[in-house]
């Protein structure tokens, strides 16, 4: 513990925020879809994984990272639209477990398709050249790419906030999340809104996968691990709450990076301990509505 300085802790805090940014992106997609459609998307990790692989493919055929940043969310979002329209829509009104089970089966199919197309082993994913290296952030040198991840997440969050709060379509989404029945009575085609929300949620998942790829490489199983951790984020933050997902995602990232500094062997377990504490103290999560969970 002698080598631990305040600067090191501050640096680790930033590393935690970068990791947390990925959790945030993943969890807001999950939360958006749940808040609106009451569907827990068990294939969210698979969309995230496919996002990384689409990026890998685009770069291998001569694209660059900046093209990917635009093309990947569009491609994954379109795929999400198709999935909602063909597979999930027939299940509305048939009990809350069925869409969950269906997306779980879908994740198997998606992972195996990626294995067939790209092989079972993982690939490294090069950090784009402009974002390589480190910059001095006052407390020490910090990898530029991680700063970029934090920045890109902030941009996506801002855009999503503006979309939900300032556009008329965002208003319909928020109203639909509160009471779909009334929205339908007012003459809005709710199923079209649900379709688009699912597309947006999956597009963000694909984007998160692409952002995570240079940090950890790509492998077909990458979605499964983050899915379980994102469930922790949604339980801690409060399901269906976007603000909760942001706060809890950053918190989980910081908790992971701090425990890996002080007690590396507990890093993986720490976030589940966090969830256990939240479940005991405040079962509905930070921003969840009381009574929704119990």
């Amino acid at each position: 513990m002698a080598g631990l300085s305040l600067d090191l802790i501050a640096l680790q805090l930033f590393a935690g925020l970068a990791l947390g940014a990925i959790y945030v992106l993943f969890a807001i997609g999950l939360s958006l879809i749940f808040g609106m459609l009451t569907v827990v998307n068990f294939a969210h990790g698979a969309f995230y994984m496919v996002g990384a692989y689409v990026g890998l493919y685009l770069i291998s055929i001569g694209g660059n990272f900046w093209i990917c940043l635009v093309a990947v969310p569009i491609a994954i979002g379109l795929f999400g639209l198709a999935v909602e329209r063909v597979l999930i829509r027939p299940l509305y009104g048939r009990g809350i477990d069925y869409p969950l089970l269906l997306t779980f089966g879908l994740s198997y199919v998606m992972v195996e398709c990626v294995r067939i197309a790209f092989g079972k082993t993982g690939y490294p994913f090069d950090t784009p050249e402009v974002l390589q290296g480190a910059v001095d952030i006052g407390v020490g040198y910090f990898p530029l790419y991680r700063l970029f991840v934090i920045g890109a997440t902030a941009v996506v969050l801002l855009a999503l906030w503006l979309f939900l709060e300032k556009t008329s379509f965002g208003l319909i989404i928020r109203a639909g999340a509160r009471d779909p029945q009334i929205v339908r009575v007012l003459g809005v085609d709710v199923s079209r809104v649900w379709l688009i929300v699912f597309g947006i949620g999956t597009a963000i998942a694909g984007f998160a996968g692409l952002l995570a790829a240079p940090l950890q490489g790509v492998i077909p199983e990458m979605g499964g691990t983050i899915l379980a951790e994102a469930f922790v984020v949604t339980v801690v933050g409060g399901m269906g709450s976007i603000g909760g997902a942001v706060l809890a995602g950053l918190l989980v990232g910081v908790v992971v990076s701090m425990t890996s500094l002080f007690a590396p062997e507990m890093a993986k377990v720490s976030i589940f301990a966090l969830m256990a504490i939240v479940l005991i103290v405040r079962p509905q999560g930070f921003f969840g509505r009381a009574g929704l969970m119990s």
Partner: protein, 328 residues
């Protein structure tokens, strides 16, 4: 299984026919099928697998089918049973029966720990919380290398002979091994049948059907849920212990969330909330896996597709659909 609880639980049984007969003698029928089962299977190892996964699915079905809670964390219960049985033999040199008891105790205890936390949530959250907690159990066992062997799995669970009332039974012989494991599985099915036929079994289903009404009738819903989850842990722990004895190794993958997903698939395929469903599901699933793996390594693609089709078109599962036909 008395006549009165039967008539309370199964008012439809008056329609008569094979369905009524099957319901009344459900545990005996399972016993009979299990006893002749290895004779129709291509090889005994597959039959043993079906027994063990059938038992695992039986325990899972108590929570999913009868209580109505979808758990994605049952791998933790199955895996803890397997690990505790294995650790008792490898590290403490316990005899086989004590090791099996340790496995059951492990399943019960783990179910209590997970249950206490997860029961605080409900519905869709239950699936998420159980999955997250079982992932936590995975990491804990993964890191306790001294006890569990970590990534390599727990090796050296060698039970060659089983001593029973002075008899030395050869556990290496696959047929003998099948019938030893079958004895436990059949006993578990009788216990399960008894639980479901008891007044407590009726309360479990009452909680699933209408929580408010069950609470208004004076039943403690939270306690019922917790108790059912813990009971389910006992069955899954036994299945895990048998799996450890059968494989003579406990791989770390037993705690992976795919093991949780597997039992969800088996239960849904067979028919959730039906007595025979888990066994039928395990048999169909594992036989199919065996056939498909011969011509493709991409078994998961087929599994996922079949599962999606099941959710979309046959949510009642194989046995559930048969029952619906039989009642008509």
């Amino acid at each position: 299984m008395t006549e009165t609880t039967q008539s309370i639980k199964q008012p439809r049984a008056t329609t008569g026919g094979w369905y009524e007969f099957a319901t009344r003698h459900r545990a005996s029928i399972v016993a009979a099928v299990i006893l002749i089962f290895p004779l129709v299977m291509p090889f005994t190892a597959l039959a043993v697998n079906i027994l063990i996964y059938g038992l695992y699915a039986l325990g899972f079905n108590l929570v999913f089918g009868y209580l109505g809670l979808l758990s994605f964390g049952h791998a933790a219960l199955f895996g803890t049973g397997a690990y505790l049985c294995g650790i008792a033999i490898v590290h403490f040199g316990w005899p086989w029966y004590a090791a099996i008891a340790a496995g059951i105790a492990g399943g019960l205890l783990m179910a209590l720990l997970i249950g206490v936390l997860a029961i605080r949530t409900r519905g869709i959250y239950f699936a998420m919380v159980t999955m997250a907690l079982s992932q936590c159990v995975y990491y804990l066992f993964y890191q306790a290398v001294d006890l569990t062997g970590g990534e390599n799995g727990l090796r050296g669970i060698n039970v060659r002979t089983i001593d029973l009332f002075g008899l030395r039974i050869d556990f290496i012989n696959p047929m003998v091994r099948y019938y030893v494991i079958a004895a436990f599985v059949i006993a578990a099915f009788f216990v399960m049948s008894r639980i479901l036929a008891s007044p407590f079994g009726a309360v479990i289903e009452a909680v699933r059907e209408n929580e408010m009404r069950a609470r208004a009738s004076g039943y403690d819903v939270t306690l019922t849920r917790l108790l059912t989850f813990v009971l389910s842990g006992g069955f899954c722990g036994l299945a895990g212990a048998l799996q450890a004895l059968h494989l003579s190794i406990v791989p770390i993958e037993i705690l992976h969330y795919e093991t949780s997903g597997l039992v969800v698939m088996i239960a849904l395929l067979g028919g959730m909330g039906t007595f025979f469903g888990p066994m039928v599901g395990a048999a169909v699933f594992l036989v199919l896996e065996n056939i498909v793996s011969v011509w493709t390594v991409h078994w998961q693609l087929i599994v996922g597709a079949i599962f999606i089709a099941c959710v979309l078109f046959f949510p009642a599962g194989i046995w559930g659909t048969l029952i619906a036909r039989g009642k008509r």
